[in-house]
């Protein structure tokens, strides 16, 4: 066959070879179909480990217990025992992986805003929702402009006013 007919064929073959060689370097070694097959499991397996290494920030109530035993015990005797510490005090961990008792981390900022308390205590009388069972106040009439914790102790809301 004439050379000018075969030449494009060689060019195409060369391109295919080039792509296959490049592919060997670009596609990670652990890339393949996982346990879920081609349709749902085609991925880089190392990414599962990448996600597992993500830093935990919310440590949970039991984490606070050993140092802040007094607060832990007192709130547990009140209806507020269902609220985890970190809901108001913020997460104990940071994205850098430093956790609260570490000296590098400043004091946890406490959310004392009225909006924080109103998340539950703004009255919404919705039938079929537990929200209707929680006692609420009208924020426009009930001592506006002062923080709730000025009078109420969030760790012991039933003890009476401060």
């Amino acid at each position: 066959m004439k050379n000018h007919v075969l030449r494009p064929l060689f060019v195409v073959l060369g391109m295919v070879a080039l792509i296959l060689i490049a592919r060997m370097f670009i596609v990670p070694r652990d890339f393949g179909i996982g346990d879920r097959g081609y349709m749902y499991g085609w991925h880089r397996r190392g990414n599962e480990e990448d996600w597992k290494k993500f830093k935990v920030k919310y440590m949970g109530k039991e984490y606070c217990k050993d140092c802040h035993t007094d607060k832990y015990d007192s709130i547990n005797k009140t209806p507020h025992h269902i609220i985890p510490c970190e809901d108001c005090h913020g997460p104990a961990g940071t994205p850098e992986g430093i956790v609260h008792y570490d000296e590098k981390l400043p004091k946890l900022p406490i959310d004392k805003s009225r909006a924080q308390c109103l998340r539950c205590h703004f009255p919404l009388p919705y039938p079929t929702s537990f929200r209707s069972k929680i006692r609420g106040i009208d924020p426009d009439k009930h001592n506006p402009d002062i923080e709730c914790s000025t009078c109420h102790n969030p760790h012991n809301p039933m003890e009476g006013l401060r």
Partner: protein, 262 residues
């Protein structure tokens, strides 16, 4: 010249041969069979249970999720959110989720976006409730099927993950999800979604939203464990899933789901 008898015989044979499916000719490899049985015995399949009666719409879950998973706090995107549904006695439905309920619901006024703010009187309410939403970690995830590069996938324990180093940001998965749980991460510019706090559940912790919920409205469990509280509730109570008609087999189950919820 072919005889009539021979022609009919060959035709019948040919048709019979064509009707045999290819699968019938496959020789089953015992090793492969055993491997498939073993693979199905994966000990973990994560599933989520939401009790809409218990949810009060405080939004602590949304706040915890954003901080735990490093989703920019003031960006209007979130991996989980809480919707409020208010059905009036006149049959009208109102629903809103201001900032994804990051700051809870601290007003009776309902933000209907373009339709304006609606103030519904206490007497006019027929029923009203809150519905937390998150990724359903479907058994047949449509978002995974449409990914052209294999950046999103289902882990062996059922959780759908996104590989941030591999995602090209085409957005097909965001379009493909019938539940609208996916979005672009404002910092990484890759597809982002709830992954049941994969870094926590694989360490034996609960997800950040489950831990932050004071009312126990959210639960996560392993439905391959018959003694898991979530499995027991799912077996013994009436639970529903969202948009089952899509065939995605979602794995977030709801107690007290109403037909108005979509």
């Amino acid at each position: 010249m072919i005889s009539r008898r021979k022609f009919l015989k060959n035709a019948a044979l040919g048709i019979a041969g064509m009707s045999i499916p290819l699968a019938a000719l496959e020789i089953i490899d015992p090793k492969k069979l055993f491997a498939e049985v073993a693979a199905d015995k994966a000990a973990v399949r994560w599933a989520f249970l939401v009790d809409t009666y218990k949810c009060v719409g405080c939004g602590m879950c949304v706040k915890a999720c954003k901080l735990e998973n490093e989703i920019p706090y003031d960006a209007n995107v979130t991996r989980t959110w809480v919707e409020r549904y208010v059905l009036t006695k006149t049959g009208k439905l109102y629903a809103d989720t201001p900032k994804g309920a990051r700051d809870g619901f601290t007003t009776a006024k309902i933000d209907e976006n373009a339709d304006g703010i609606k103030d519904i009187s206490k007497e006019g309410i027929e029923k009203a409730f809150f519905v937390p939403k998150l990724c359903n970690q479907c058994d047949n995830p449509p978002c995974v099927q449409v990914c052209p590069v294999g950046a999103t996938y289902q882990a062996p324990d059922g959780v759908v993950l996104v590989d941030r180093t591999w995602c090209i940001g085409c957005g097909y998965c965001i379009m493909g999800c019938p539940y609208g749980v996916r979005f672009f991460h404002p910092v990484y510019h890759t597809a982002e979604k709830c992954n049941f706090c994969y870094h926590r559940i694989t360490k034996g912790l609960k997800t950040a939203c489950v831990q932050a919920c004071p009312f126990g409205a959210r639960q996560i469990g392993n439905i391959k464990d018959p003694n898991d509280p979530v499995t027991i509730t799912m077996r013994t109570q009436r639970v529903g899933v969202l948009k089952s008609e899509y065939g995605t087999k979602p794995q977030v189950y709801y107690i007290g789901l109403d037909e108005e919820v979509r």
